[in-house]
């Protein structure tokens, strides 16, 4: 809603400026703004090769070729000024391009003029026109069903996968027009879609395609009569229904509810239905070299239950590859060559070399003991003075536990009783951990009713993520429910009785006095 309002404002200001500044866009003034804010990524000549570009995938736009992904114009067409203005003002979610609300209206217009002047393609012929988007025939279960059919007809599944997490079989081969590896969008996390996650946004991307990427324009299929305009809208409704346009609300305490019956014995959907899910965003480990500037795993979904004896956790995250997987060799090599590895020794940088295929991995991090005060171990897997207790898993050696004294110093705890298993299905890992609530020896004893620090780390083997090159979270908390306490019922009851009695006494006394 807020986004819609903001867009309206953007469109209206754009409209007004269209009148007042059409010829007033000042290329020279635009260059000053560009050099100050844009050049370090997009390059001083707009070739998308600024000094920081190698830390970014997708790469910053090369303005000289004027191939723009996010447009309202037809496939292969230049974007309109409104398209450029929207990208500058709102940024492109899921990429390193932020919105630029710090630029004034005239500054934005000037920089649009300058960016266009970096390519010889603008200014020739008629100005680009937005496509006719038609009108949305509406959503609902019927529309979504038709959309699901269109998803198959247009072969979206080949790249985006049957679940829409970008796990399609063609996914590992994708590259943009400059040969840089590119991911098929995870359609279930609408907040990371480059052009926005609303039905209108998705419809525009499907209809016009993403120029410079393998994503085709459905308008071609529409013109060929393969799908109708309504079906393209219904496809957008279907895609929107796969996930959410907004990131789940960040809550900082994982509630581990207490169950009286049996605990889930694995990570299957049936066993975990209805259990509250907590989402935590992850970032690339960009704190200690070798840093991970373009991580694969950008969030984890966490659930927990206990019965006073055992605690079980389910951690899920999206990863289009089940590493190790030879089908992703080509991707790994391309990726490792495209991204700044910050001095990391390459896992492997050529398909000719013998392939090293790191496994996918995840760690859940706790302190060894529940902290007395506010101090806890360093969030990045602890340090020498104050280690962390880890539940670990990777796709080769399975479940284990460890003592972390820093990102590159993890000692296994072979005696630890933690058990579990992991399954990968349709671009998503589901990891299940189980351990006794309290334990003797090395390892954390959970305590009901006390907030316990918890953090998460993830690795995607197919992108060469090993060791320090991973995704990390900050510290959050986990809280195990206490057994239902009688205080919760008794205290309010006593309060009610006392207040009632006090009221009666007061009224009686007042009445007695009145009668005299």
């Amino acid at each position: 809603m807020r986004k819609t309002v903001r867009r309206m404002v953007v469109l209206i200001t754009g409209f007004l400026m269209g009148f007042s500044v059409v010829s007033g866009q000042d290329v020279e003034a635009g260059k000053v703004v560009y050099d100050k804010w844009c050049a370090e990524c997009h390059g001083i000549d707009g070739l998308g090769d600024g000094s920081a570009a190698t830390t970014m995938l997708p790469r910053p736009r090369d303005f000289s070729q004027a191939r723009y992904q996010i447009r309202t114009t037809g496939s292969g067409q230049l974007p309109t000024d409104d398209d450029l203005r929207l990208a500058i003002q709102e940024g492109l979610p899921g990429t390193t391009m932020p919105g630029w609300p710090n630029l004034s209206g005239p500054e934005t217009e000037d920089v649009i003029a300058y960016v266009k002047s970096l390519s010889r393609f603008f200014g020739q012929g008629d100005p680009p026109q937005s496509l006719d988007f038609g009108s949305d025939p509406g959503g609902g279960s019927e529309a979504i069903e038709i959309g699901a059919q269109a998803y198959l007809t247009l072969e979206c599944e080949a790249c985006h996968g049957s679940a829409g997490r970008g796990e399609g079989t063609s996914s590992p081969t994708l590259e943009d027009w400059r040969g840089f590896p590119i991911r098929a969008a995870d359609l279930t996390e609408g907040w990371y879609l480059n052009g926005g996650g609303s039905v209108e946004d998705i419809h525009a991307r499907v209809l016009t395609g993403l120029d410079g990427t393998p994503m085709p324009a459905a308008s071609d299929a529409m013109n060929a009569g393969v799908v109708s305009p309504d079906e393209v809208w219904q496809l957008a409704h279907y895609i929107a229904s796969l996930g959410s346009a907004e990131m789940p609300t960040l809550r900082d305490v994982v509630r581990v509810a207490r169950v009286e019956g049996t605990l889930p014995t694995d990570g299957s959907e049936a066993e975990w239905e209805g259990v509250d899910t907590f989402y935590f965003p992850l970032a690339g480990q960009v704190i200690q070299p070798p840093r991970n500037f373009a991580p694969t795993v950008d969030g984890v979904y966490v659930q927990g239950l206990h019965d006073g004896v055992d605690i079980v956790l389910r951690v899920q995250w999206h990863d289009p590859s089940e590493s190790p997987d030879p089908a992703w060799d080509e991707w790994q090599v391309k990726f490792m060559n495209a991204i700044d590895l910050d001095g990391d020794s390459l896992v492997v940088d050529s398909l000719e070399a013998p392939m090293v295929r790191p496994p996918d991995a995840l760690a859940v991090q706790f302190p060894f003991e529940i902290p007395e005060g506010t101090e806890r171990p360093y969030f990045l897997m602890g340090d020498a003075r104050n280690p962390v207790y880890l539940w670990t898993w990777n796709d080769q050696s399975g479940i284990g536990a460890g003592r972390g004294r820093g990102l590159d110093s993890v000692e296994e705890l072979p005696e630890d009783p933690v058990t579990g298993n992991a399954t990968w299905e349709d671009g998503r890992w589901t990891l299940y951990f189980r351990r006794a609530v309290t334990m003797e020896g090395d390892g954390l004893s959970f305590q009901e009713g006390t907030a316990i620090p918890v953090a998460f780390l993830a690795w995607d083997g197919s992108s060469g993520e090993v060791g320090k090159r991973n995704s990390i979270s900050s510290w959050y908390y986990m809280l195990l429910d206490k057994p239902a306490s009688s205080t919760v019922v008794v205290a309010p009851l006593i309060a009610i009785l006392l207040t009632g009695a006090l009221g009666l006494v007061l009224v009686r006394r007042a009445q007695d006095r009145e009668r005299g």
């Binding site: 370090e40 920081a52 710090n102 900082d252 305490v253 506010t374 990390i472 009610i496």
Partner: protein, 267 residues
């Protein structure tokens, strides 16, 4: 209605109600709409404020004999009058239930994170060791002001900033980089007039060189995602970034000639 407004009891009730709306909603939610920075008032503070207002109303009402009498009248009537029998019955039920509800709110299990106090700009040490060599922070100036070309330093600083700092502190220097939401505490916003202009360049140097792990205990070093950049950048590179930070935001650093110590600002 007019008669009600003249009755001190209802006047008092209205003052208390208005005070509650102001503390609970106006300060936290209405002020930001007109662009004044503000935050919701914690419930413990609201309780304190409300007690003050309540006592104030009682003091005012009881300051004059006549007013005190009329103030009490509706209460007395509700308690004794035959005509108010129904009202009395309702109040005798509703008030205990409300108290019971408040009691329940206090004893029901809570899933809030424990509160942590953190000093945002803790006091800097007088001296640090940078890559094994001692550097005196007190009185320290950015040596690049006197050396080489400012233009070149700024270009070096900018390139370092965009590659290394942007993921968290953002292209706009507003602390809203693409990874910012993951970290707690959130990355510093350099466009905030309470940050760079309040600090000397030597303080910024200390924070960049030593990062999160170099914070004193009150800065919760175990939580901060700020790297200790001395492991990645050399001395001149850090000074260049500092020049860039002030140049790009248009702020001037605090100088050693201004009296007082910087830092130590508690939040």
């Amino acid at each position: 209605m007019k008669r009600l407004l003249k009755q001190p009891f209802w006047q008092g009730a209205i003052v208390v109600a208005i005070a509650y709306v102001v503390f609970k909603y106006l300060i936290g939610y209405a002020l930001p709409i007109i662009g004044v920075s503000s935050a919701p008032v914690p419930s413990s503070v609201i309780l304190q404020y409300m007690l003050t207002v309540f006592v104030g109303v009682l003091l005012y009402m009881s300051a004059e004999e006549g007013r005190w009498g009329t103030f009490q009248k509706p209460i007395k009537e509700a308690m004794v009058s035959r005509d108010q029998k129904n009202l009395r019955g309702v109040l005798m039920v509703v008030i205990p239930i409300m108290v019971g509800w408040l009691a329940y709110q206090n004893v029901k299990p809570s899933f809030a994170a424990p509160a942590t106090l953190r000093s945002i700009h803790p006091a800097p040490p007088n001296e640090i060791t940078f890559r094994g060599l001692p550097i005196q922070l007190t009185g320290l100036e950015n040596p690049l002001h006197e050396n080489g070309s400012l233009e070149e330093h700024l270009q070096v600083g900018k390139a370092i900033y965009v590659k290394n700092c942007v993921p968290c502190h953002g292209d706009l220097l507003d602390g809203a980089g693409h990874f910012a939401q993951v970290f707690n505490p959130i990355p510093a916003d350099f466009t905030n007039s309470g940050t760079l202009p309040m600090l000397t360049e030597s303080f910024v140097f200390w924070r960049i060189a030593k990062g999160g792990p170099g914070l004193p205990q009150e800065g919760t070093p175990w939580d901060s995602a700020m790297p200790a950049w001395e492991n990645i950048l050399d001395e001149n590179e850090i000074w260049s970034v500092i020049l860039f930070l002030y140049d790009q935001t248009g702020f001037s650093p605090r100088t050693w000639h201004e009296e007082g110590e910087e830092g130590g600002e508690e939040h």
